[in-house]
C-alpha cells in the first residue's frame, strides 16, 4: 500500500467527501440508481464508516420502467448490506399513466424522475442528497461543484456556484436550501470499471453480455423487458448477444452487441469503444444543452 495509484487516490477523496456529508448534514440520503456508479458509491460509503454502517438511508426513485433485473438486484443489495432502502414513485404520474412509450422520453423523465425526486426530497425532508454523477459524463457536469447547492425549489443556478478551493467544502446552507453532493465527480468511466474489478463489487447482470430479446428502433437496440412494449409494424423481436454500458428505464436505454461476459472482457471492449456511454441514452439527446436545462430544473 505504499504506492498511491490513481484509483486509490480517487477512492480516498470520495470517502472524505462522504464522511464530510455525514458530519455536516442533518438528514442526508444517498441516491441509489442501481447502476455501476451507484454500486461504486455505495461501496465507498460502506468503506467510509467501517466498522460502522452508513448513517443515511438509500433512496431509489422508481419510474416503474426500470429493467426487472435491476429491481431484483436493488432489493438483494439492500438486504446484503443491511441498509435502509426507501423506494419512491410519483403516484400522481402513475395515476396519469405517464410512460415513455405514450408520452415520450422528455415528459416521462420530467414527471417520473425529476418531479419524483423532488417529491421524495421534500417528503422526507432530506437536506443533503449524495448522487453518483461524474464530471466526465457530460459537459455541463464538468463545471458542477462537488457540493452543489439548490434553492428551496430545487433549482440549480450555474452562475451562483461557490468556488471549491483545496478540499475545503463550504457546507453551510441557507434556509430552505438543499445540497446535492457528488463524491464521484472526478472519476471517469474507466476508473469506475477498474475499481469494480479491483474491489470485486457486485453489479447488475445486464452489464454482462447474454442472449436477450431486442427490437431495433431509431438505430438503437431496445430490450423487450416486459409486455408493455408496443411492437411497431415492421419491427421484430430478435434474440441477440447484447449488454448495456449504462442502465436506466428500459425503453430509453440502448444496448450494444457484445460478447463480453466477464469484467476483463468488458474492460477490453471499453478500450476499443469509439462512442461514449451516454450515447445509449435517449434522455440526453432531447435538445442541445439539454442536460444543463434539466439540471437547472432539478434533475440530478
Amino acid at each position: 500500500m505504499n504506492k498511491r495509484t490513481s484509483v486509490n487516490t480517487l477512492e480516498s477523496e470520495s470517502i472524505d467527501i462522504i464522511r464530510e456529508v455525514a458530519a455536516t448534514s442533518d438528514n442526508p440520503v444517498m441516491l441509489y440508481s442501481i447502476g455501476k456508479d451507484s454500486a461504486v458509491m455505495l461501496h465507498l460509503a460502506m468503506k467510509a464508516f467501517y466498522p460502522g454502517k452508513p448513517r443515511f438511508p438509500i433512496l431509489h426513485v422508481d419510474t416503474t420502467w426500470k429493467f426487472r433485473e435491476m429491481i431484483t438486484f436493488r432489493d438483494q443489495t439492500a438486504q446484503r448490506l443491511g441498509l435502509n432502502l426507501i423506494v419512491h414513485t410519483n403516484q400522481d404520474g402513475l395515476a396519469r399513466g405517464i410512460g415513455p412509450f405514450t408520452h415520450g422520453s422528455a415528459i416521462h423523465t420530467d414527471v417520473m424522475k425529476t418531479e419524483a425526486l423532488k417529491q421524495a426530497l421534500d417528503k422526507w425532508q432530506f437536506d443533503v442528497a449524495l448522487g453518483g454523477a461524474r464530471r466526465d459524463e457530460e459537459k455541463s457536469r464538468a463545471k458542477e461543484r462537488v457540493f452543489s447547492f439548490r434553492s428551496a425549489a430545487h433549482r440549480w443556478d450555474p452562475k451562483q456556484q461557490r468556488p471549491e478551493i483545496w478540499k475545503l467544502y463550504n457546507t453551510h446552507k441557507n434556509p430552505g436550501e438543499t445540497v446535492r453532493v457528488f463524491p464521484l465527480s472526478n472519476w471517469t468511466e474507466l476508473d469506475i470499471w477498474q475499481y469494480i474489478y479491483q474491489e470485486n463489487i457486485p453489479i447488475v447482470p445486464l452489464y454482462f453480455a447474454a442472449s436477450r430479446p431486442v427490437v431495433e428502433r431509431n438505430g438503437m437496440l431496445i430490450m423487450v423487458d416486459d409486455d408493455r412494449m408496443p411492437i411497431q409494424p415492421g419491427e421484430k423481436i430478435e434474440q441477440r448477444m447484447i449488454r448495456f454500458r449504462t442502465l436506466g428505464c428500459y425503453p430509453l436505454t440502448g444496448a450494444i452487441e457484445s460478447t463480453a461476459t466477464t469484467l476483463p472482457d468488458i474492460i477490453a471492449e471499453m478500450m476499443t469503444a469509439t462512442t461514449s456511454e451516454r450515447q445509449g441514452r435517449l434522455v440526453d439527446h432531447d435538445q442541445a444543452a439539454s442536460m444543463e436545462k434539466k439540471k437547472q430544473e432539478g434533475y440530478f
Partner: protein, 630 residues
C-alpha cells in the same frame, strides 16, 4: 478509449499502477488554451466518436472558428459560455495515458477571473502557462505565474504556443524563455520547463515536432507523464490528520476518521491531539480492507488510540515529536471571492482542515497588484483582489505555514450571513505564539488577559446629579460596546447598594466608602480585562480623584453627565427630589448636599441639550478618540 491505447496497456485491469496528476492551464482563448487541451484529449484518444460528432456539428455553427474542429466548444460547458465564446468557470477534464491519469483544471485567464484560477490552482501540482509566440511574455503571463506560485504549485511549464506563426524560430523561443525566467526568479517555483509547440498543428503536444529539430526536450505530454508528483514529498513531512468524523458504531469501538494531510502513521506511534495537547499512541489503523501496518498522506483512514482521550471533529492528530505550532493570530494572504468587499473588523467563519472558528480581519496591510506584485495601500479588498492581512481567531488552532503544507495552512472564509465562500486564505506565520498551558507556563497578567479579549480595558466613570441620565446613557453605551464585540460590565450606583454596599447609608463617611468600594471593584474588573462602566452621583472631587488614582494612566475615563438642577428635579424618575424637598430624605445632592462639578473630565455631555442616545454616541466617539475602542 482507443485500440492504440489498449495496445500500450493503458488499462491492464490487474496491474494498474498509474498515478494521478492534477494540473491547471492558464492563458486566454487567444493563446490557444482550449485548442491545446482539446488537442491533448484528442491525441490521447480520450474523445469518443459521438463527442467528436457533436463537436463537428457545433463547430459549423461557431462563427469564430476557421478550423475543422473548434476545441474550445468542447471545453466551454455552460450554454452562456458557448453563446458568448468565453470561459466563465473552472472546467475539469480527464484523460489518461499508459503511465498516468490526468485531471485538468481549465480556468479563464482574465484578471476578473482570478478567483477561478486560484480555485483551479488550489488542487494542482503543475501549471501550464501559455504564451503566444508572436506576443511573448505579457502582463497576464506574469499574473498567471505569480498566482500559480502563490498557491504552492512548484512545477511550471512555459508552453510557447503558435510557434508555426513565427516560422518555428529558435531565437524567438529563446528570447521568450529568457524574459520569463528573469521575471520568475522572484517566485517560489521549483522548476520551469519551457516547451515550444503548436497546439493547432499538434507539434510537440503529444509527439515531437519535426519542424523544430533544434529542440531536443520532451513533448508536452511526455513531460506531463514524467514530472515527479508533489504529494510524494508530503510523505516525508511529520504526520498530520484533521479529525473529520468520530466513528462510534457501538460502545466497544471509538475511532477517529480522517484523511491524512501529511506524513505517515503506524500503530504504536506517539501522537498529540491538538489544540488540547493530550498525548497517546495509535492502537490500530482500521479500514474496510483490514487493519494497516502503515498509512500515508492522502489515505482516508480510521485511527484508534491506546487511551480514552478527548478528541472530536476538527481536532488535529499530529506526530508527538513534531507537532505543529498553535496560535490564534496570523499574518495571511487572502484572495477575495465575493462582490461584497472585505472590510477589516467584520467577522467571518474560518474553515481550516475540518475545524470552523470565528475570524476577524484586524488589519489589512496591503493589496498585491497581481500584474507587477507591487504592494498598494488600501482600506478594503474587492472581488478578485489579493491582500496581506492580520487575522485573529476566537480560539487557537494548530497550523503549518501554507508554503510547507497546503492542507494545514490553507483556509476559506465564509460569510456568516450569506454563507458564501468569501475568500481563500493562506497562513504565513503566527503573530504571537498563543499561550498554551500544556507546553509552557505563561505569566497571566493584565496585559495577557486584555489581549485575550482583544481590547483596552478601562473604567468609564459617569458622574452627575440624580436624574441627569447617567444610568440611561451608561446602559446605551454598554449596548453599543457589546454590539462592537467588546467585553463590558456595568456597575450601577443604585444596584450596588442592594448587595455589595447594602451595609452603607448616606452619611458623608458612608458615601466615601460607597465610592471607594465601587472604584476598587472597577479596578479589579479592569485588571480582568473588561471595559467597566460605573454610574454614580459621586459628588465629591476628592472621591473621584481617589478612584482615578487606583488605575493606570489612560484607564480612567470620566464622563460628566451635566444638566440643570431644575431639569433633573422636573424629571425626578425615582421621586427622590420630592422626598428631599419635603425633608423626608436628608443629605441629598443638589438639595442639601453639594455637587462638585468636575474640573477636567474626559468628556462632558449636557442632557438638557442632547438626548440620551446622542449623548451615548458622544461617549462612544470619545472612547474611540481616546483609543480605548477602535
Amino acid at each position: 478509449m482507443s485500440v492504440a491505447l489498449a495496445e500500450q496497456g493503458a488499462f491492464a485491469p490487474s496491474a494498474q499502477d498509474k498515478t494521478l496528476l492534477r494540473f491547471i492551464t492558464c492563458g486566454s482563448v487567444d493563446d490557444g488554451k482550449s485548442t491545446l487541451i482539446g488537442r491533448l484529449l484528442h491525441d490521447s484518444k480520450s474523445l469518443f466518436e459521438d463527442q467528436l460528432a457533436t463537436l463537428r456539428a457545433d463547430s459549423l455553427r461557431s462563427i469564430a472558428s476557421d478550423q475543422e474542429i473548434d476545441f474550445s466548444l468542447l471545453l466551454d460547458g455552460l450554454a452562456a459560455e458557448r453563446e458568448q465564446k468565453i470561459t466563465i468557470d473552472v472546467a475539469y477534464r480527464f484523460f489518461a495515458t499508459a503511465r498516468r491519469s490526468f485531471i485538468v483544471a481549465d480556468t479563464p485567464g482574465h484578471e476578473q477571473y482570478t478567483r477561478n484560477m486560484v480555485t483551479g490552482a488550489s488542487t494542482a501540482s503543475l501549471a501550464i502557462v501559455l504564451v503566444d509566440a508572436r506576443k511573448g511574455v505579457l502582463t497576464q503571463t506574469r499574473r498567471h505565474a505569480y498566482l500559480a506560485s502563490l498557491l504552492g504549485i512548484r512545477h511550471l511549464v512555459l508552453a510557447v504556443n503558435k510557434m508555426d506563426a513565427v516560422e518555428w524560430r529558435q531565437a524567438r523561443f529563446a528570447e521568450i524563455v529568457q524574459a520569463f525566467r528573469a521575471f520568475a526568479e522572484d517566485l517560489n517555483l521549483q522548476d520551469i520547463t519551457a516547451i515550444p509547440l503548436s497546439a493547432l498543428l499538434g507539434a510537440n503536444v503529444t509527439s515531437p515536432a519535426v519542424q523544430m529539430p533544434w529542440y531536443a526536450g520532451p513533448s508536452l505530454l511526455t513531460h506531463l507523464e514524467e514530472v515527479p508528483i508533489e504529494s510524494q514529498s508530503l510523505r516525508q513531512e511529520p504526520f498530520r490528520m484533521s479529525v473529520q468524523w468520530v466513528n462510534r458504531p457501538n460502545a466497544d469501538f471509538r475511532g477517529f476518521s480522517g484523511t491524512i494531510a501529511a506524513g505517515t502513521v503506524r500503530p504504536g506511534e506517539w501522537v498529540r491531539v491538538l489544540p488540547s495537547g493530550r498525548q497517546t499512541h495509535v492502537a490500530r489503523i482500521v479500514t474496510y480492507d483490514g487493519d494497516l501496518a502503515e498509512a500515508i498522506a492522502g489515505q482516508a483512514v480510521t485511527l484508534t488510540f491506546a487511551d480514552e482521550i478527548d478528541c472530536s471533529r476538527g481536532d488535529m492528530v499530529a506526530a508527538a515529536n513534531a507537532a505543529p505550532e498553535i496560535a490564534d493570530k496570523f499574518q495571511a494572504t487572502l484572495v477575495w471571492m465575493v462582490e461584497a468587499p472585505l472590510r477589516p473588523g467584520r467577522s467571518y467563519w474560518l474553515k481550516i482542515g475540518r475545524k470552523t472558528v470565528v475570524c476577524t480581519v484586524t488589519l489589512l496591510k496591503h493589496r498585491v497588484d497581481v500584474n507587477n506584485l507591487a504592494e498598494q495601500q488600501t482600506t478594503l479588498l474587492q472581488l478578485n483582489e489579493i491582500g496581506v492581512c492580520h487575522i485573529s481567531l476566537d480560539q487557537a488552532i494548530p497550523f503549518d505555514p501554507y508554503v510547507e503544507n497546503r492542507e494545514t495552512g490553507g483556509f476559506i472564509l465564509i460569510d456568516r450571513v450569506s454563507h458564501a465562500t468569501a475568500a481563500a486564505g493562506l497562513l504565513h506565520f503566527a503573530l504571537r505564539r498563543s499561550q498554551n498551558l500544556h507546553w509552557q507556563a505563561v505569566d497571566v497578567d493584565r496585559t495577557v488577559r486584555a489581549a485575550a479579549k482583544e481590547q483596552r480595558p478601562a473604567l468609564v466613570w459617569f458622574t452627575g446629579l440624580s436624574g441627569a441620565g447617567k444610568s440611561t446613557i451608561a446602559n446605551l453605551v454598554e449596548k453599543r460596546l457589546h454590539a462592537l464585540g467588546r467585553h463590558t460590565y456595568l456597575l450601577d450606583g443604585d444596584n450596588v447598594r442592594h448587595g455589595l454596599n447594602r451595609d452603607l447609608g448616606f452619611t458623608d463617611a458612608d458615601r466615601v466608602e460607597n465610592i471607594r468600594r465601587v472604584a476598587e471593584v472597577g479596578r479589579l474588573m479592569v485588571d480582568a480585562g473588561l471595559i467597566v462602566l460605573a454610574s454614580l452621583i459621586s459628588p465629591f472631587r476628592a472621591d473621584r480623584a481617589a478612584a482615578r488614582a487606583l488605575l493606570n494612566e489612560g484607564e480612567f475615563f470620566e464622563v460628566f453627565v451635566d444638566t440643570n438642577l431644575s431639569i433633573a428635579e422636573q424629571r425626578d424618575p425615582k421621586g427622590l427630589y420630592r422626598k428631599a424637598r419635603s425633608g423626608a430624605l436628608r443629605n441629598f445632592t443638589g438639595i442639601d448636599s453639594p455637587y462638585e462639578v468636575p474640573e477636567s473630565p474626559e468628556l462632558r455631555v449636557d442632557t438638557s441639550l442632547t438626548s440620551a442616545e446622542d449623548a451615548a454616541e458622544q461617549v462612544i466617539a470619545a472612547l474611540r478618540a481616546a483609543g480605548i475602542i477602535w
